[in-house]
């Protein structure tokens, strides 16, 4: 009945940990909205990509989450 969240790069600082378990919700919007406001803001930006079970999500508005999914939040990668 839970989702595993993975926070990469500076998002791990914002979340206070690299991983977290949360109760399953059906949509990515609901997932983000359910987190503390600062973290929620950090994750909602258009430059943060999201991967579910290791695959980048194309249109997060229509993606349905399922129990046990691993949801990774990926900020822009670092340069050279």
């Amino acid at each position: 009945m839970s989702l595993k969240l993975v926070f990469l790069g500076r998002l791990a600082d914002a979340a206070g940990a690299a991983e977290r378990e949360v109760t399953t919700v059906p949509s990515i919007a609901a997932l983000i909205a359910g987190l503390e406001p600062e973290l929620s803001t950090a994750l909602a930006g258009p430059r943060v990509k999201i991967a579910v079970n290791g695959k980048i999500v194309g249109d997060r508005a229509v993606f349905t989450l399922r129990d046990g999914d691993e949801v990774a939040f990926l900020p822009p990668v670092s340069g050279g």
Partner: protein, 149 residues
């Protein structure tokens, strides 16, 4: 040909990797390579590379496939560190053999540009005891844009 693509959590000897690559590709006339290291000096005490295994390694494999599609490489190695590295330690090694020297050199150039500017790594540097995240650089985008003509 199978590319040798690896993520390593601990230090590696880049010159020894080149030696091994040369031996493993004994039929090749030439070997181009690039070793990237944590630059000593400049006040960087340590460098940390985070990765997300399902994407990072898969991305490196896809990059190796793209190199193989663009050039007639006969051998390709991409070895990348993760975790905390100290100044002087190797971060990345790319080595390639191809049917012509310039193809081998271009393959390495291409792979390095994409590993640096288009891979799933997040990097932070420790300076004066404090960690600082590294943002994307404009130069990385312009290096990548060269290959999209």
């Amino acid at each position: 040909m199978t590319a040798d693509v690896r993520l390593l959590a601990g230090p590696f000897d880049a010159a020894a990797e080149i030696d091994r690559f040369v031996a493993a590709n004994s039929d090749a006339g030439g070997v181009a390579s690039f070793i990237g290291r944590v630059r000593p000096g400049g006040g960087v005490e340590a460098l940390e590379l985070s990765h997300y295994e399902p994407l990072t390694l898969a991305g490196m494999q896809a990059l190796a496939d793209e190199v193989e599609n663009r050039w007639q490489v006969t051998g390709l190695a991409m070895v990348h560190r993760t975790g905390v590295m100290l100044p002087g330690e190797a971060i990345v090694l790319v080595a390639a053999t191809a049917h012509h020297r310039r193809e081998a050199i271009e393959s390495v150039d291409f792979a390095m540009d994409h590993l640096k500017g288009d891979s799933w790594f997040w990097k932070r540097e420790k300076r004066a005891g404090e960690w600082h995240w590294i943002e994307p650089r404009e130069r990385d985008f312009s290096d990548l844009a060269r290959w999209q003509q």
